[in-house]
Symmetry: C2
């Protein structure tokens, strides 16, 4: 109980004042060695020893108050809590952002807003100066949090490409439309003609763009009845969507699932109904997440550089924080198709 751990387990924590007293100098001098500034060698030595002795650890609230910053950036996810967990994509983006942020010595604070109550609490949190900036994922234009962030003029970045949405806030993402088009084309190239899509989250820009890309690739072959819309990117929705499609069109020979998790669910449904992949039906996904190599056969899919998206998003916030004006209105990262065996 008494041996280890640098900070002494006393009720009150040591302050700059205590260091000053212990070292026999003024608080100003202590502050100068803590930050950077002219201080004599002898004074510095005495103070550094005192710091260790009293087990000093800075009080961030006090520092924030005077510095007007928190050294933290919010990672705001506007999705149900459960999806936040299920979606490997959001996870990857989060990891990338966290790595970049922590390299710059910023703490990432994870904020999932799902309910009215969340909105209120997180509004308070953002307004309270707990974060210096924000990375916003899955924004829709009506989200009240967006208004708050805009009103606060909080240095921010959108992940994704929401249109008509605070043009002064930059974005980073991929070209969902072009990539969806490209992967659908390859489905055509392997001879499929009755091609369906399991479209998810069409109320969001990513979902809508993937559907649009699919339609553009198919051109006159596009058949609205071969699009099964499901609410979210997940396994269960994929299985359900696939069953719907099979029911509507027994002759189906190709399927574009809007995400790998959706594709995995679809393949499960396909196996149950006795269809072989890729012989009977070709399947392609989107994301190149760990789902893609968890299915048999492995999924052909679009690689979404989640990690890069996250780190670029973090960089854009960091740059605003530094005062560097950011030139681009937005940033689209490459998302190449990766071919495996499912189509």
């Amino acid at each position: 109980m008494s041996a280890p751990g640098p900070p002494a387990r006393t009720g009150k924590r040591a302050t700059v004042h205590d260091i000053a007293a212990a070292a026999g100098v003024s608080r100003g001098t202590v502050s100068r060695v803590l930050n950077g500034g002219y201080v004599s060698v002898t004074a510095r030595a005495a103070i550094e020893r005192a710091i260790r002795e009293v087990g000093y650890v800075p009080n961030t609230a006090a520092r924030n108050l005077v510095m007007q910053r928190s050294q933290a950036v919010g990672f705001i996810v506007l999705e149900p809590h459960t999806l936040f967990l299920e979606d490997p994509n959001i996870g990857g983006i989060m990891l990338g952002a966290n790595a970049a942020l922590s390299a710059a010595d910023y703490q990432m604070v994870n904020l999932v807003v799902d309910s009215e109550r969340d909105t209120a609490r997180i509004t308070r949190y953002l307004s309270g100066g707990f974060v210096d900036g924000a990375i916003i994922v899955s924004a829709r234009s009506h989200d009240p949090i967006i208004q708050v962030v805009g009103g606060l003029a909080l240095p921010s970045v959108f992940v994704g490409h929401p249109r008509d949405l605070h043009p002064e806030i930059p974005y980073v993402g991929i070209d969902n439309l072009a990539s969806a088009e490209e992967i659908t084309r390859r489905l055509l190239a392997t001879g499929r003609r009755r091609i369906g899509m399991i479209a998810a989250a069409v109320d969001r820009d990513s979902g809508a763009d993937r559907l649009a890309g699919f339609q553009r690739a198919l051109g006159p072959l596009f058949d609205e009845s071969l699009v099964a819309e499901v609410p979210v990117y997940d396994f269960a929705c994929g299985a359900k969507g696939m069953r719907t499609l099979l029911e509507r069109e027994p002759e189906l020979d190709g399927v574009f699932a809007a995400a790998d998790s959706v594709a995995a669910g679809a393949m499960e449904a396909l196996r149950e109904s006795g269809h072989r992949v890729p012989q009977d039906i070709g399947v392609v996904g989107f994301d190149n997440s760990s789902w893609a190599t968890r299915t048999r056969p492995h999924l052909s899919t679009v690689h979404q550089p989640a990690d890069d998206i996250g780190s670029h998003a973090a960089d854009m916030v960091l740059r605003q924080l530094r005062g560097d004006p950011i030139a681009e209105r937005g940033l689209l990262l490459p998302s190449p198709v990766v071919w495996r065996d499912s189509a």
Copy 2:
């Protein structure tokens, strides 16, 4: 740009001082209506109007400084970042904790510590008064963060049942040993005799206890060579562990996988090697996560009430925060076996 959003987009935010000026009262009176205290009806009305007018939002740093609290609780995960995403169990616990915390108007702050650098930054974060309490997941006794938390006397709770680890910090979890024993027994009851285990994370209490339970159930039938140890609870490790086991013992007729994700990987390997489940080999898992119903056949497993664990953990921190002394040294939640078709 100018229409919506309560806080006016001015550079400086309104303070209590501004409210006082606008309402023609002193700061003290304003503070009293903000918190609670005696204040005349007329003054209150004027102040409340002024608050809306100036678009006041409290400065949390200042409030924290004077109140010596942050109204936030850290959710500390001592695991690699990637596992934090993959492990559905941690996710469920997080969700449960978040729900309880936000119901009590606390902000949950997610802290994953994976590297040296993380440790330093998060130590600073915790010590800086950013959180009033902590929920600690996956602790091992040597983790330096534990020392910090202990040294700070930060109201905390362990998720899991780490022994020899700060006995003054309560824990909440399940009885991994008993449940592992129980589910292994049922494997025996269905006639299996050459039973192996894919043991994961044996350096942690949960992993070690599950292995111990397995051994206790088997008694004299226990064969050390039929235990394949893998580093973490995940799909890929499950497949690899299964292949190892099959190689060591072609006559294997039962397998206990230390987690559902591990079991799913194992079943994938089994399918590839042409073994039928449950006819040739019975498989049981642990967690009752979404993996359990994603496999064919569905997994028999142990239900781990992740949500409840999370909310109970949050409650224990909240109680300490309120000053209620917490009586129990720890809390073990029921974790019943759920039988499906894989064994």
